[in-house]
């Protein structure tokens, strides 16, 4: 294997790799703005200039192909000087926006100004001025003065989103970004440019000016928008989600997520129409009630039906843990066979990059966790049919707004004598329900989703509820930052009275006299991995931050694709 020496470290590399790639792989940081692992090499920022022995000029590490025996210095006097020169150049016309710039705190230019700049500028002239607020598309705002012309956004559109929507115009220090004639920055992945823009030139119009980044906590989670299961960070301040950003996972979503997932999968968490505590329907009116009452009500009502008169519908939006406990409860406490869940597949609504036809995060997980009809039991359509025929009179429904999907389902639900629903928000289905149990959203609990590809991934609690799994993950306590301001994740939170579905069901289980030993979702998962062969050998630490593949039998993959 060929070898290269970078800063006195001898490293193996593969033929064709560039210096920066080798450095990156080996944990050596070569500062850069325009280079991005997933984009073509542009070589314009000149920040990654390094010294290579026997080459008189400095070379850029992003485009220089390594050769056997090459000796590279990234900290020599010459490179340090060149870097600080580039920083000085970048800053001379850069506006003094940091105090009002959304990027501050996660800005490459700001960070490098501390680590690679001399701290003082010799520039005493008038700065150039450019446009400050240019909407490039529905979600992205452009500030031309902050742009450092790195071309990442252009390359992202051309190469990743596959739509040529952005381009440079003008020359020299007048260069700026515009949308191509007759175009807008409106591809389904447009907001990713706000993540890869190294400065605050491109900002998310949905998030702009909502919070300083250091006032938020970020929690690793999974997008619930489709069965891809893009890895994300959930950003919270004052117990309110302010934005989602993609989190790198080479096996799932690379550095990206779609705009729909980013914008439309968290607002229900903060919404006004949250179900805050259990509700019972008495004489047509919804009445808030206590947990014990609600659970006693559910148990006694369910008992009044014959076992063939009850159906259980799980959820592709709930976690494996929720579905597992639900299935177990249905089967062992009620000897139920009529168990299934609805698949939210929208044929044709997928693309080549990430978006999947299955618009739920956990269909495979629900199925594997046991949400399948028992022998001789009814499947989803069968259950609906039986409700219409009056054969099934009671339905226990987990986290799914069936009534909103089709009028047919809505009218079927209305025929029921008993409808128990777990739901995070009031919706068409809760309107019909006799008992509404407030379910935590994916952002308020721990658990796992299995994506289309059979990868188990963890969601984590980013927002606290009255009932919160605090013991896990050390509760990511508030702490003071260097400037004395708190990461006030929980400082004065508005807390929802909601619980993970599995906990609600576990309470009912106990009410029936069964012993439930689990106190944490982690323990539920451990039981899953002990009892369901596909999950064998897995636990939360094995799954970790980037997930783990389950052992899929091919038949299952097929059945899930339906």
């Amino acid at each position: 294997m060929p070898k290269i020496v970078i800063d006195d470290k001898e490293l193996d590399f593969n033929q064709g790799q560039t210096i920066i790639q080798i450095a990156e792989e080996n944990g050596i940081d070569i500062p850069h703005f325009c280079w991005h692992e997933c984009l073509s090499v542009s070589g314009n920022c000149r920040m990654c200039l390094v010294e290579v022995e026997k080459i008189p000029k400095l070379v850029i590490a992003c485009s220089t192909i390594a050769a056997d025996g090459m000796v590279v210095h990234t900290q020599s006097e010459k490179t340090v000087k060149a870097r600080s020169a580039v920083m000085e150049f970048l800053l001379i016309n850069h506006p003094l926006d940091c105090p009002i710039c959304d990027e501050a705190g996660e800005c490459k230019l700001q960070q490098y100004a501390y680590s690679h700049s001399v701290g003082e500028s010799r520039f005493t002239e008038e700065k150039n001025h450019k446009k400050k607020r240019v909407p490039l598309g529905p979600y992205v705002m452009f500030d031309a003065e902050r742009c450092i012309s790195c071309s990442r956004c252009i390359r992202f559109c051309d190469e990743i989103a596959g739509e040529k929507q952005l381009t440079f115009v003008q020359r020299g220090d007048k260069v700026t970004i515009v949308t191509a004639p007759g175009k807008q920055l409106d591809n389904p992945y447009s907001l990713n440019v706000t993540d890869i823009c190294p400065v605050g030139a491109l900002t998310n119009r949905d998030f702009r000016f909502k919070s300083r980044v250091w006032d938020m906590s970020s929690t690793k989670s999974i997008c619930s928008g489709c069965s891809r299961g893009c890895n994300i960070e959930v950003w919270v301040r004052n117990n309110e989600i302010l934005r989602l950003t993609p989190r790198h996972n080479a096996e799932v979503n690379s550095y990206w997520m779609c705009d729909n997932g980013r914008l439309n999968t968290f607002k229900h968490v903060n919404a006004e129409n949250r179900v805050d505590g259990p509700y019972l329907k008495r004489e047509g009116n919804l009445i808030k009630t206590g947990w014990d009452e609600a659970i006693a009500f559910a148990v006694s009502e369910l008992k009044s039906f014959g076992k063939d008169e009850i159906a259980f519908i799980g959820s592709a939006f709930a976690t494996c843990e929720d579905n597992y406990i639900f299935a177990k409860f249905a089967k062992s406490a009620w000897s139920a066979k009529n168990i299934d869940f609805l698949r939210h597949v929208k044929p044709g609504e997928s693309d080549k990059l990430l978006v999947m036809e299955d618009k739920s995060p956990n269909a495979l997980g629900a199925q594997l966790a046991g949400i399948q009809p028992g022998k001789g039991g009814l499947n989803f359509e069968g259950i609906i049919h039986a409700i219409k025929e009056g054969k099934i009179k009671a339905l226990y429904l987990l986290e799914d707004d069936l009534a909103a999907i089709k009028p047919e389902y809505e009218s079927a639900l209305k025929k029921l004598e008993l409808l128990i629903v777990h739901s995070s928000n009031f919706n068409k289905t809760t309107d019909i329900a006799d008992l509404i149990l407030p379910a935590s959203t994916y952002a308020e609990k721990h658990g796992t989703f299995v994506n289309f590809d059979g990868r188990v991934q963890r969601i984590r609690s980013a927002v606290t509820t009255e009932d919160f799994d605090r013991s896990l993950d050390g509760f990511e306590q508030s702490r003071l930052d260097k400037f004395g301001s708190p990461f006030d994740k929980w400082s004065s939170p508005k807390k929802m009275d909601a619980r993970s579905s599995w906990r609600i069901i576990a309470a009912m289980y106990s009410a029936l006299g069964h012993k439930i030993k689990h106190t944490m979702s982690q323990e539920v998962f451990d039981e899953i991995s002990e009892t369901i062969p596909e999950f064998q050998g897995l636990n939360y630490s094995v799954i970790g931050d980037t997930g783990a593949k389950i052992k899929l039998k091919s038949a299952e993959t097929k059945s899930i694709k339906v």
């Binding site: 090499v41 314009n44 200039l49 016309n93 003008q170 020359r171 007048k174 400037f483």
Partner: protein
């Protein structure tokens, strides 16, 4: 002296006149040779590029891959936008067919199926003139499919004229290729070099207009003959565009190695009013200037000019007499490079503008003495750190002008008066760990 590129023949731009004077014979001769022999002949002649870098032409051609499935291309660079340079224009006007014949020979040598002649947008008139010549050459069957018949050869090629839209950067070879491809004229990061990865990713050679125009003569009269003209290491003639404070500005074809003083005093008729010369830029505005007292004995060829710290560039000789205000000259030159920087890479995009701003401030009488070192420091921070050589083109005039004429610049900047610094607020405190001393 014999003129090779611009012979003194009336109406030579007309195809019939060109043919009567032996035109389109060299191409026949070349096509009877093997491609290797043509390249060898050009190598042996010692012809070096006239586009600025004086790179050996035959050697450049030999970089073209021989075994490749990809189409190959020739680009002929007539972007001619360097201030002080206006020589290729004469070829379009007075000897276009020799250029076209040179293109045919070069295409054959490197086995290119097509050649693009890139002409700056401002040369609209000369684009028309060359187009006329090209149309005539097509009509007579010297270019395109018909040439197989006319010249009795297996080989044929097409020639296209591509008009630029008015940007100096389009003369940089990789920007030129992007421009032909219909892209923004951003220079490409090299390597890969054009011979492996040029136009549309295919092997490409780029040569200057004047370079190519020399080729038919070399084939006709032999490498031997050519190599004996002028300076042995940089043989042939060069078109020397003289401008500035001379009595007879214009383009002169001179053997390389001609004394610069002969160019100025004998050919260009000396300085009006017999004034002294303060400064000469010998190779177009991007080349380092010479002081008036440095001119004695300086020869016009790549190596001699390099030896005294300048360069032949495009042999655009700019003469400035003793009354010239060099601060204003430099401010104007800097304005040009600032205006023409493509804006792709940081040091040139930001630095070129900074240089101009400082120089204009000095020219307006608001300079301070530290500005001179600042200028030199900015220039050296650009040099060597950019994507293309426009960075150097912007930096060199500043660095060398300020260094060589330091006294004149000193008189312009005041002693250490402190100027107001309204924009200096983005300075940070210069502590090693800027946040370490903040109390929690």
């Amino acid at each position: 002296m014999e003129r090779i590129v611009l012979p003194d023949i009336k109406d030579l731009h007309l195809i019939d006149v060109y043919i009567q004077n032996g035109g389109y014979q060299a191409v026949k001769k070349a096509y009877a040779m093997s491609t290797d022999d043509v390249i060898a002949e050009v190598k042996k002649s010692g012809l070096r590029g006239r586009g600025g870098a004086a790179f050996a032409t035959g050697l450049k051609w030999s970089f073209m891959p021989k075994t490749t499935d990809k189409p190959k291309y020739l680009c002929v660079n007539g972007d001619e936008s360097e201030p002080g340079s206006f020589k290729d224009r004469q070829i379009f006007e007075f000897n276009p067919h020799q250029l076209l014949e040179g293109v045919l020979i070069a295409c054959y040598a490197i086995q290119a199926k097509a050649a693009y002649i890139y002409i700056r947008g401002e040369y609209a008139k000369w684009v028309k003139l060359l187009q006329k010549a090209l149309d005539d050459a097509y009509d007579k069957g010297f270019v395109g499919e018909k040439m197989k018949e006319t010249l009795g050869s297996q080989f044929s090629c097409d020639i296209f004229i591509h008009k630029g839209a008015g940007a100096y950067i389009c003369g940089e070879e990789s920007a030129l290729m992007n421009s032909i491809e219909g892209k923004r004229a951003y220079p490409r990061v090299k390597p890969p070099f054009p011979a492996s990865n040029g136009l549309w990713g295919n092997p490409t050679t780029i040569n200057n207009i004047e370079t190519i125009t020399n080729v038919p003569a070399i084939i006709n009269k032999g490498a031997e003959w050519f190599s004996k003209i002028g300076e042995p290491k940089h043989p042939g003639t060069i078109l020397c565009g003289v401008s500035g404070h001379v009595n007879k500005p214009g383009v002169y074809e001179i053997p390389t190695g001609t004394l610069l003083t002969d160019v100025i005093y004998k050919l260009a008729g000396g300085v009006p009013g017999d004034k002294k010369i303060k400064c000469v830029i010998p190779g177009g505005s991007s080349m380092p200037p010479l002081r008036g007292d440095q001119l004695e004995g300086v020869k016009m060829d790549a190596d001699s000019l390099k030896a005294i710290g300048s360069g032949i560039g495009t042999a655009g000789v700019i003469v400035m007499d003793e009354d010239t205000n060099l601060v204003k000259v430099l401010a104007r030159i800097s304005k040009f490079y600032h205006h023409e920087s493509c804006g792709q890479c940081t040091p040139c995009r930001e630095g070129a503008g900074w240089l101009q701003k400082v120089l204009e401030r000095i020219a307006a009488g608001n300079g301070v003495s530290s500005d001179l070192d600042l200028l030199i420091s900015i220039a050296s921070n650009i040099e060597g750190n950019t994507v293309c050589a426009l960075g150097e083109a912007a930096a060199w005039p500043v660095r060398f002008m300020v260094t060589k004429f330091r006294q004149e610049f000193e008189t312009y900047v005041k002693a250490d008066v402190s100027i107001p610094v309204p924009n200096k607020v983005h300075s940070m405190r210069a502590t090693e760990f800027p946040v370490a001393d903040i109390k929690l």
